[in-house]
């Protein structure tokens, strides 16, 4: 690419999607739910792992202090 050629990123028409407000709203109606399900199930697995180690490994090893 010649050095004097401007970057495509300098032109909004080249990089920005043409998204209408209703179309964006329609997408946003679904996206937070998916993110919540993904984040929720991931954190739930982490919490279950923590609880399993705490209840099945740590506590049966007896008192300490």
């Amino acid at each position: 690419m010649p050095v004097d050629q401007p970057s495509a990123a300098s032109d909004n028409l080249e990089v920005a999607d043409e998204v209408t407000e209703p179309a964006l709203a329609e997408v946003m109606r679904v996206v937070p739910l998916g993110a919540a399900v993904l984040a929720g199930s991931t954190v739930a697995l982490l919490v279950l792992g923590y609880l399993a180690v705490y209840l099945l490994v740590f506590l049966p090893r007896g008192p300490v202090g």
């Binding site: 407000e21 209703p22 709203a25 329609e26 946003m28 109606r29 937070p32 919540a36 984040a39 929720g40 919490v47 923590y50 705490y54 740590f58 506590l59 049966p60 090893r61 007896g62 008192p63 300490v64 202090g65």
Partner: protein
């Protein structure tokens, strides 16, 4: 379609974030309650003894002198173990403890920082020169447990380990001085 109005979506996202924050708050409160409950009812606490001792003279007199090392049963029935962690051994090399009784473990170091854990238990502490490391526990199963040094203390670190011999109540018989030693096997 009123359902797709941006303000409604912003409110929905805010609601989702609040719900998430509420869930995280519930989890934090539940885990803190669980830790507090087990601390109060099951005697599970982080060891927090702070006690100074002179590392240069601890082997000359006092509770860590050679004749006092090992397991001692007090007149009140309390079981106390005293051991020295030094490069590159624990003294004594085998520690006899009774099963199902509260045991107080006390360690001191005359040289560098050591650490120890007892396999299959929650005993895990550092042994810092100048301080007495004290841990209370109760051994639930009989058998020989490995007690390695888990803080790199020099070239012989990997050879530094001891055995904790957990003996059933009926077989745990201290002598007239209240001293208990490992059974020969």
């Amino acid at each position: 379609m009123s359902d797709t109005h941006p303000e409604i979506h912003e409110r929905r996202i805010l609601w989702t974030e609040l719900l998430w924050a509420f869930g995280v708050g519930i989890f934090i409160a539940a885990s803190l309650s669980m830790i507090l409950f087990t601390a109060l009812t099951r005697d599970v606490n982080p060891p927090s003894n702070v006690e100074r001792i002179d590392p240069k003279t601890l082997h000359l007199s006092g509770e860590f002198a050679e004749q006092n090392l090992g397991t001692t049963v007090g007149s009140d029935g309390s079981v106390t173990v005293r051991a020295i962690a030094t490069q590159f051994m624990f003294v004594p090399h085998c520690i006899a403890v009774p099963q199902g009784r509260r045991v107080t473990l006390r360690f001191a170091s005359p040289d560098v920082i050591h650490g120890l854990l007892i396999t299959g238990t929650n005993v895990n502490t550092m042994v810092v020169p100048g301080y007495v490391a004290q841990v209370h526990t109760e051994f639930r199963r009989t058998g020989d447990l490995l007690m390695p040094c888990h803080e790199f203390c020099g070239l012989g670190h990997s050879e530094m380990w001891a055995t904790v011999q957990v003996i059933s109540q009926s077989d745990f018989k201290p002598d007239a001085d209240g001293r208990a030693v490992c059974a020969q096997r």
